[in-house]
């Protein structure tokens, strides 16, 4: 690990995560002590905000539910307004292992956006069936666009720095799938350098990703549309 004087903010969008959020924050604090943690409470109905604050995180709370993309955009806006050099976005459900944060920040030395990717060698994350094809197709298309190998474009585990934080605070897409597909295309089209590093994901604390073929078809269709729109957008 390199010693840096950069100010780092980890953004955790959270919606009704009161049960798991404290553990996630604690682990982050242990793993990367000199880093600020921002929980964006997307208008949870449980005590997410209070629990996060008690655990020592900074908390902003949205007045109504904006979805994960909207919550992340607010996180980036917070990072800009408070002058952070590096922003890391993670999921608040404990799926993302904070051990990789320092690797990701190190990787930012020659990239603007670093994506923590499953399937890239590390870990045992598997999806099967049509959903897998959809994700593969998306990865192929986005790899071609970004001119670098991207194996996991839907990963919400990312780090970015400098001007890109500013860019995302204004342009972070808030539509479904936009926060994954669109963010990569937009960053690339605006001339930022994208890179991925392998990470392993832990099993989700609750719920399973759906595997029904019809849902996968809808997923494929919507990601195709998101990709198309991302490419033609001004």
């Amino acid at each position: 690990m390199t010693v840096t004087t950069e100010r780092v903010l980890t953004i955790l969008p959270a919606w009704n995560e009161a049960e798991s959020i404290a553990a996630v924050i604690k682990e982050l604090q242990q793993e990367v002590p000199d880093m600020d943690i921002l929980v964006v409470d997307d208008c949870s109905r449980d005590a997410t905000a209070a629990v996060a604050r008690a655990a020592g995180a900074k908390v902003v709370r949205l007045p109504y539910n904006l979805g994960v993309g909207g919550a992340r955009r607010l996180g980036y806006r917070y990072a800009v307004e408070h002058g952070y050099d590096v922003a890391v976005q993670m999921d608040a459900d404990g799926q993302h292992d904070p051990r990789y944060i320092t690797d990701m920040i190190d990787a930012l030395s020659d990239a603007d956006l670093v994506i923590g990717a499953r399937f890239a060698g590390e870990g045992a994350y598997k999806v099967a069936g049509p959903r897998q094809w959809a994700m593969k197709l998306l990865s192929k298309a986005l790899s071609a666009i970004a001119r670098t190998r991207l194996t996991d474009t839907t990963s919400g585990y990312r780090a970015c720095r400098g001007e890109l934080i500013n860019f995302y605070s204004r342009n972070f897409p808030v539509e479904y799938l936009g926060d994954t597909v669109d963010t990569i295309v937009q960053a690339k089209r605006s001339g930022y350098v994208i890179k991925q590093i392998p990470v392993s994901m832990r099993p989700r604390q609750g719920g399973t990703p759906s595997n029904s073929p019809s849902k996968a078809m809808i997923y494929l269709f919507r990601s195709g549309l998101a990709l198309l729109l991302a490419l033609v957008r001004r």
């Binding site: 964006v40 900074k58 908390v59 902003v60 709370r61 949205l62 007045p63 109504y64 904006l66 909207g70 955009r73 607010l74 806006r77 917070y78 307004e81 808030v174």
Partner: protein, 121 residues
């Protein structure tokens, strides 16, 4: 003759409703003006339904009624698209506002905490 009565009454009722909405400031002027214009343009047709026949035969459309239906579908489609555009814009605006509020509340909470500390050293 009875048809003319029905169409004319409908046209007049529409005109009155829009005017009343405008008068009570329930409708923004830009929309009110649009619909008033439409009402005024359509009202003569309500009284004399054959008014468009000349134009429609010129355009190669069999009857004035067909022309009118075609024009109104196109017009309503444009209005619907405009409203979707408008609501997307409004959504973006409220989104920005909610972000602003969230940030302000966080700032206020921080300041309050600071003040508590100053008060009770």
């Amino acid at each position: 003759m009875r048809l003319t009565f029905v169409t004319a009454t409908t046209g007049l009722v529409m005109l009155v409703v829009i005017f009343e909405l405008l008068r009570r400031r329930q409708l923004r002027e830009k929309y009110g003006a649009l619909w008033l214009l439409v009402a005024v343009a359509v009202l003569p047709l309500a009284f004399i339904p054959t008014l468009l026949d000349g134009l429609s035969s010129f355009l190669g459309i069999a009857s004035g009624l067909s022309l009118f239906l075609f024009a109104s579908v196109v017009f309503l489609l444009l209005v619907a698209v405009h409203l979707s555009w408008e609501s997307s814009r409004l959504e973006e605006e409220t989104r920005s506002l909610s972000e602003e509020i969230a940030l302000l509340r966080a700032d206020v909470a921080e300041l309050q905490e600071l003040r508590e500390k100053v008060k009770t050293p």
